[in-house]
Every structure is written in C-alpha cells, then in structure tokens.
Symmetry: C2
Subunit: 175 residues, 2 copies
DNA sequence: GGTGAAAGGTCATTAAG
DNA sequence: CTTAATGACCTTTCACC
C-alpha cells in the first residue's frame, strides 16, 4: 500500500464530495466502472477511515445564523483537557482546534446576530478554563470548503525531499 | 414565516447532519412523521438554501493529509477581488474567509507533511496579491464540526434586546 | 443477474391557522 | 380560505444475495 489513494479512489471521493447521496450504482455509471468495484472501493475507504460519514451541507446564513467568527482562546494553565467539554456546551461553537501560536485554541463560532455572538463570547469568557479570547468576524466567504483539490490533483500527496525554501514573507507563529 | 426553522425542520436537519444518506423513508420512520411531510419539508429546506447539498465527510489524516494549518493573509491594496482565484489555484487551500482583524483573509490549509505545507505557504507568498502570511498549525481537533447544537436547541436563533455585557476579557480585533 | 425494498412523484382527503 | 399533514397509489431505481 504505497499510495494512499489511487485515481479511482479520488474519483469516488470527489463524486461523493459533490453529492453524497449518489449510490454505488450511480457512481459506477458516472465513473464507467463496474458496480462491484465501486462497492469494494467504498467499503475499503470507509474501513480505512477516509470516508467517515455523510452529512448535509447547511447554509448557515439561510438557517438564521448569519454571523460567523473565529475566536482564538488562551487556555488557563493545565486546563486544556477541560476545554472540549466547555466548548461543546456552548451552542454556537462549530469546531475547535488546538494550535501553535500565541493562542492555544482556535474555534469557529456561528451566531444569529452580533448580539448573539456577543452572548457566545461572554459564555466563553465566563469559563475559568479560558483566560482570554480574541475574535475576528467573518465578512465573507472567499473559498468554500472543498477537499476535491486535494483529491483530484492526479498525484498522491507530495512530500518533497528538498524543501527549496525561497520565500521570506511567511511566518509560523512559534507560540 | 416568523421563525426560520420549526422543530420538525430541526429534527430533519439534525438527522441529516448525522447521516445524509438516510432517505426520506428512514427519516419519516425515525421521526414518526408521514413520508410526504418529510419530503415536502426537505424540498422547502432545499429551496430556501438551508440544505445546500450532501457531502461525504472525509478523514483528512487517513486520506494522507495529516497536517492542517490556519493561515492569516494580508492582501495587497485593492487586490481582494483577485484573491479567490489565487487561493483556488492552490490545492491545499480548503476554505478562506475575508475577516476583520489585522489580517484580511483567514484560510484553512491541508497538507501531507510539514514540507508540503511549506510548499503551500511558498505558493501563497509568491502571489503578488498576498503581502504577508502568518500561520498557526493545528495540533489536534478539540471539537469536530457540528451544526446540531444550533439546530436542536429547541429555540429559534436568539436575538436579545439587552446585550447585558458583563465580561471584559474579550477582544474583537478592529483591524 | 434477479428480487425485495426503498426512493421519488402525484393526488384526494382531512385538519388547522 | 389558505396552508400543511397524511395515507395511498404509482413507477423507477437501488442494494443485497
């Protein structure tokens, strides 16, 4: 198993990325592959954890949550383990990641209005596991979520031996 | 149409959020509602742009993209319109948002390795529309993406009249 | 490849606002 | 009277063996 995904895997994933309700038969028609082949591939992708599940894509704005923000959290000493529970208890928190950088956690928040966002931020700051928060508000979506460019690039993930660093304007926050 | 989503809508969305392959029949069984009703609701949700589509959830790590980062970009004067095309041309860029704050754009990047991430950052910085970038690397996922807490909260999006601001540790970066 | 099940569409009836 | 929910019927399609 040298390469993680071959071309057929990528094609299946790309198709499911566009419409996860396409069944095995539909995929086999679209891709010109036998149904049994597609079924076997799909099972393998699920077993390997590459396809985790199938979800509806929801238009947050249309659903009444027109405000989004990214909130950087500084976590109190030794409280990182408790943060998950705190964040999950707050309805507006969509996802959260531990990161490098001057903040410890970056989380994405949705709210119905700026007032609602403020309530969420207050809820965050009232937790003693969170020492400080900094928010940036989303003004518009420039690129919508997509994994296809990763998947249909034709090549496997590149891992160059020679970094060949030429730029100089990039900064990785060391924390 | 006072409230955006009623309880049945929320239940349907929450179920589809967990498994978008559950069909109309399965939903009607699980929710104890007639098939035609669920179908009508679903059509309405799609027409209103609340259900945009159905996608596979992909395990990026299992798919060979074990490195994720959030990159803040400062955009060159007047080049914001060109950024979308630039970012879409770079395979690792999953999504991007124009935001308030000292950076202009926040984008989410996936890569196969740190070397691969570096290549992506170099690609970003080589574009003349991008003046500077700052990255934080994702160490772990604390809260996975979820919209359910927004949807099954039982109430419609709250929009309080009295902000009732009590906290003081929160900062919204003015840019 | 065949078969039982499920999906999607339409419609008349009924209930509720 | 308008809107929504329901059960019934139909045809096509799919998934499993």
């Amino acid at each position: 198993m040298d390469v993680v995904l071959d071309e057929l895997d990528r094609a299946i994933l790309a198709a499911l990325q566009e419409n996860s309700r396409t069944g095995v038969l539909g995929l086999s028609r679209d891709l010109g592959v036998a149904r049994a082949t597609v079924a076997a591939r799909l099972h393998r992708l699920e077993e390997r954890g590459i396809v985790i599940g199938y979800e509806a894509r929801i238009g947050l704005t249309a659903a009444g949550y027109g405000v989004q923000a990214f909130v950087t959290l500084e976590i109190a000493q030794g409280a990182l383990d408790d943060v998950a529970a705190v964040l999950e208890a707050i309805p507006g928190v969509l996802e959260a990641f531990a990161t490098t950088g001057s903040g410890d956690v970056l989380c994405r928040v949705a709210a119905a209005s700026h007032d609602d966002l403020q309530q969420t931020l207050i809820a965050l700051n009232q937790s003693r596991t969170i020492a400080r928060s900094t928010s940036v508000i989303v003004l518009s979506e420039i690129v919508g979520f997509r994994t296809m460019p990763l998947l249909d690039a034709g090549e496997s993930p590149r891992t160059p031996k020679a970094p060949a660093y030429r730029g100089g304007r990039s900064t990785v926050d060391p924390g």
